[in-house]
């Protein structure tokens, strides 16, 4: 349709999205598209060299982001986006790595990889879209599902304690930890901008609506209802103690930037240490002469 073509050509997102693959597969009211828009806006505003930005996703609804973004993008196996990004970063330290994946992917199957990458202070940015369940496969309970929420594998309500993602990130050694909801568009953009130029392991959690599964199973309404919940219950507390950030079912959402510190990255540590140990013989890796 000619009207379609003109829209795609003029749409400012055209430079950031693979417009030949839009419309995407996400549900009506799903927040992932909102986070992708915020991300694209952050890329534009930061004026970063897009040729050097790589995006790696895992499996799941959020995992599909890699397929829609016009960067060097990799859609890897379930939970293994972070080590994949590690390999890319260490293979070519000039790249800026963004891991864009969901809560089930990063903190369920991928939990081990998350904590080790944070521990090592790998220079990657992890954007975790948290919709409180495993959406792609039908709404199963995840490590982030709040207590008493309904999920397809917890049909009588979830009785397991969920993770507090910023707490876990900080405890593992992340140097930048922030949490926002999809409604906090501009703040998500700002956080991503800050994290893109920051060296070290950055983690941004974005709580987003999952209409077809989480909201439907818990009779929470549609995307608008969830956004209204974010509006009413979220409270910005920059620098809050990450130990106090638990989310109860439909409870208070404390958002903000919690951690922003400087720490040498894995490659910095490697180069510094080996230079000390081996002296002149050692040529630092990944450092332009």
């Amino acid at each position: 349709m000619k009207a379609e073509e003109r829209f795609e050509e003029k749409n400012p997102m055209e430079g950031f999205l693979r417009m030949d693959r839009i419309p995407h597969i996400w549900c009506p009211g799903c927040g992932i598209g909102v986070v992708v828009s915020s991300f694209a806006e952050a890329l534009r505003k930061s004026k970063i060299d897009l040729d050097k930005v790589c995006i790696v996703s895992g499996i799941g609804c959020t995992g599909r982001v890699a397929g829609y973004v016009k960067l060097d993008s990799f859609h890897s196996t379930h939970g293994r986006a972070i080590p994949f990004a590690t390999g890319l970063k260490l293979g070519n330290p000039e790249l800026k790595l963004v891991v864009f994946s969901g809560d089930g992917d990063i903190f369920g199957i991928g939990g081990n990889h998350f904590i080790h990458a944070a521990r090592r202070n790998m220079d990657i940015l992890v954007i975790c879209v948290n919709n409180f369940n495993y959406a792609m496969t039908g709404g199963q309970v995840a490590a982030t599902t709040p207590l008493t929420a309904n999920a397809s594998t917890a049909p009588y309500g979830n009785f397991e304690y969920p993770f507090s993602l910023p707490y876990l990130a900080e405890a593992s050694g992340a140097t930048y930890v922030a949490r926002w909801t999809a409604l906090h568009l501009r703040r998500v953009t700002m956080s991503i901008q800050e994290a893109l130029v920051k060296r070290g392991f950055s983690f941004i959690e974005v709580i987003t609506p999952c209409v077809t599964l989480y909201a439907r199973r818990n009779r929470l309404g549609d995307g608008l209802n969830l956004m209204k919940y974010y509006y009413e219950k979220s409270e910005i507390q920059h620098g809050a103690d990450t130990r106090t950030l638990d989310i109860s079912y439909q409870g208070k959402l404390i958002v903000g930037k919690f951690v922003d510190i400087q720490k040498p990255t894995f490659l910095d540590c490697m180069n510094e240490h080996l230079a000390k140990a081996l002296g002149e013989k050692y040529k630092p890796y990944g450092v332009k002469p």
Partner: protein
Amino acid sequence: MKKVKADPKGVLTGAHYLDGDFAIAEGALAAGCRFFAGYPITPSTETAERFAERIPHVGGVFIQMEDEIASVAALIGASWAGKKAMTVTSGPGFSLMMENIGLACMMEAPLVIANVQRGGPSTGLPTLTGQQDMMQVRWGSHGDYEIIALCPDSPQECFNLVIDAFNLSEIYRVPTFIMTDECVGHMNEKVVIPPAEEIELVERKWYEGPKDKYLPYKPDKDMIPFMIKAGDGYRFHTTGLTHDERGYPVINAECQNVCVRHLVDKIKKNADKIIRYEEDATDDAEIVVVSYGITSRVTTRAVMQARKAGIKVGTLRLITVWPFPEKKIKELAKKIKAFVVPEINYGQMVIEVERCAFGQAPAIHVPHCGGWVHNPNDIFKAIKEAAR
């Protein structure tokens, strides 16, 4: 593809006394491998240790990942960043790697994995030898795909075959495996490393055309697509989902048909160029002993005894175990009485030998469940039985 010279910094020219594990590390460095992501597991740990020690002098990265799953994921990432990447493991780690090996096959990412086999299954015999992953290397991951697996029988061959493995993986854009075992891995022998000029290396087919015309998975005339690396502005996409030439996922039967056939055919149709073996006295042999790895050395003695006893025995030592030398076995089966297949497992490659013999000659298995090498007398007895 490009033929390149080995970087002299990575080539430890000279005659050394090394064990198989160390020889693998030296082979990798000589082949230009500058990224190693691994996890310690007996009996392969020495390779990782050697690499960790040597890589700061050569220039590259060694990282010990949190598990084998992460190791292969990191290798695929490094491969897409343009590096030659490898890891080593043994049985239990090999099982963990399987999902991501499938991803590497699907993404057509060149990488090398060495499996220093030990007794299995499960934790098995961590410190003792076995050859029990031979079928797993071919069929371990889910779905239809093909890989290349090489089997060295000595530390010298470990060095040589690792270089060949890197070349093959770069040419065919497929994970290539070195299937040694604890015996070869821990055996110290003379390893002669030639000067860098004499080492022939191959690099993957780099794409050099216009950026907007690049199709990541469009096969070239030789069935292998051109490759690029991340960060060069191609804005490509690659996925583990069934994909079309653009790398975009297409979920239907037609795309699956094209995709799967491509992954398998690119190895199958080039099998003649890949397969290597060593044969001895097979022209007039009545019995042919088919062996690989450390077992082929034990076979030498058994064959000596058999020939002294007047039996016309030939040997076929498999260097490439996968793709399997089907044509050679078929050809031999027509003229010989029987195959004798000793292996340190309870029946793996013998199944392939039997299949390829098409009933023309029986394949007599000489099993050994692991933990030690065969007693040559057992192989000799089997040859005698076969000759009757």
